[in-house]
Symmetry: C2
DNA sequence: TTGTACGCGTTATCAT
DNA sequence: ATGATAACGCGTACAA
């Protein structure tokens, strides 16, 4: 590894000249000089120090992603989306697992700020009542003031733009699918207590049941977001017959847990009971699970795109403007719509989802309730 | 965000003094001064620039992971392992997907070098005959000369330490399980053509078959590492009865693909045919797949640990020594074993795996071959 | 115990 | 068209 000064010396030119040709400046340079510098750089295996570059520029070419757990496919797809556009743009992705802990989120955001990240993507959901949220909001505000662009991939008032899906609509849609298949008694295995996404999905489910006049046959079970939670909740259901007509997991993994418990109990799916999830991770395809497909990859890539675009624009200095309206409640796309910088304090982009019917759901057969 | 000079000014001391108290130097500082500096730092919301730190130190506190695809659980577990130890040590993880392309691997390694990474973990397997490998080896050599520690998580001669499993032994073990269950005609769905891991796993499988005098009933099918490959290969098997007694996927996902094709064809598993995989991703547990558990998380965390430890040691200047011997062929642990720096050019740590029996394999019943 | 001054590698500004 | 030099923010050797 050699530095610019060494290259300049080897080429017999000034560092500034070497910098100009090597950093692709539009400054006029004679062909001869240019050639000498390039040759020297090549011979010395020169590669510019991104660290030194970050020192002089307002931010580095690093974009961060904060996920709950990268080993959860929901987040790894998002991370993939972020990294794909980051890499292509010459950026490098930073990753941190925060295990759904707001405190850790604050810490890791700080760590990324210390590297002068161009931006940070918050991939996880927040909590409904969380004493640390104000601290996080504050940390985000300071980060943004410093030029670190933040983007949230969940509905949580971080005071930054967000790219989300409407989780109420998502749950509403899967419930609708089941209802229109003739199912009446439907059980919903909820997500982790206190999470915003958990609340939204339950609300969507209950809303559809109410619309169908089925509020009395709706059943919500405490659960979680993992396989074990799905199994456990289903086991409880199995212990108190009769089984519901259908079962919805708060996400795919929960639904698969339910599937597993049902299979073990020799309950035919979808013959006796239909099962469905949400997210449409690859797992869902593997087991033939009916679910709602979420544009996870797009959320990640869009967030990264936003950060990179915003970072290349000259930094908006003094600006404090209002938010752009949110998209419709049922998953319509609403483009970012702002060329003039500073007009997007909290713009929300709502991406659409779609039902994906596979083999775990079927029309309700026989036996009345 | 404020810098050290601002803090120093606010505290009425010199930057060096402020630096000393804030960076936890052991330099003696009067209690009064210390307090003033800390107060000022607190009030100004001071956080040291990791970029500036990286400028003065030989490397940053960034550790990189190069994965084929983070959305593949095999790699996301590894990334989790890396990030857990990195975070705890105050480092930040950089992530790049390289899609199994050696050229991309070289590019991304360079990008991480540009950030003066403390080290880079190569998580993916290499190819048996790959024209770009020499270039990669060269890139790794230069990176290491510069102080970027490299660690490989697969058997590939990168000229750096590695933490691996013995994939021959892994395949041998799963084949052994099936053989000892009485199975004779066993099909093996191979991994992607040309990959080192593919070759090793096939060799392990064939070795066990040979030992059992079953070379003639061993069948290798071209496959891949994904669900679709498993399905396709199994569909081909289904088209040419009779089915083998058992079926091994080159990894769990392939085995699940096979399972899916079999279930669709109404073939009872494990009644009619046993199915097994390798890796033991969470997916395997979800579907009750018999497989071989690999210490993926440990590989990642050990690699990160190695990098961080090595980076905190004073950089070994002039040293070119021999390699430490590799571990045994059947998965015995062999500790890193070097306190004196420089003695570990290419030390290989072989981690052990273990068979995990679940519900997709059973003793061979009925019908002779 | 505290302060001064230099260097890390780059880009940008201001000469020449 | 090219060169000299000043930042950027930090750590540290050296001076006081």
């Amino acid at each position: 590894m050699s530095s610019l000064v060494e290259v300049a010396r080897a080429a017999g030119v000034a560092v500034s000249t070497a910098s100009r040709v090597l950093s692709g400046s539009d400054h006029p340079i004679s062909a001869r000089t240019r050639a000498r510098v390039i040759a020297a750089a090549e011979k010395l295996d020169y590669s510019p120090s991104a660290v030194a570059r970050a020192m002089v520029s307002p931010h580095s070419r690093l974009v961060g992603v904060l996920v709950s757990d990268i080993d959860n496919p929901y987040f790894s797809v998002i991370a993939r989306g972020v990294d794909d556009v980051a890499s292509r743009a010459g950026y490098v992705t930073m990753l941190s697992n925060v295990d759904r802990r707001t405190g850790t989120e604050i810490e890791r955001l700080q760590a990324m700020r210390d590297y002068r990240a161009a931006g940070v993507v918050f991939a996880g959901s927040g909590y409904v009542d969380d004493s640390r949220t104000p601290d996080l909001v504050d940390a985000v505000r300071r980060a943004r003031e410093q030029g670190v662009h933040a983007v949230s991939l969940a509905v949580r008032d971080l005071g930054c733009p967000s790219v989300v899906v409407d989780n109420r609509a998502v749950a509403h849609q899967i419930a609708d699918h089941l209802v229109s298949l003739g199912h009446r008694r439907i059980a919903f295995i909820e997500g982790p207590t206190g999470m915003t996404v958990t609340r939204h999905r339950r609300e969507g489910f209950l809303a559809r049941m109410r619309e169908a006049g089925l509020e009395d046959s709706a059943q919500c079970l405490p659960g979680g977001f993992d396989y074990e939670a799905g199994r456990a909740a289903t086991l409880r259901l199995l212990a108190r017959p009769p089984l519901p007509d259908a079962l919805i997991g708060a996400n795919d993994e929960v639904a698969v847990g339910a599937l597993s418990a049902l299979r073990q109990a020799r309950v035919d799916v979808p013959g006796e009971v239909s099962v469905a999830g949400m997210d449409d991770l690859r797992l869902a395809e593997f087991v033939g699970l009916t679910t709602v497909s979420l544009p996870l990859y797009e959320m990640g890539s869009l967030a990264a795109r936003h950060i990179i675009d915003a970072s290349s624009r000259p930094a908006p200095r003094a600006a404090a403007t209002a938010a752009t309206g949110a998209g419709g409640p049922d998953g319509s796309d609403s483009p970012d719509a702002d060329a003039d910088a500073g007009s997007e304090r909290t713009a929300t982009t709502v991406l659409s989802h779609r039902l994906t019917v596979r083999e775990t759901t079927a029309r309700r057969t026989g036996a009345g309730a």
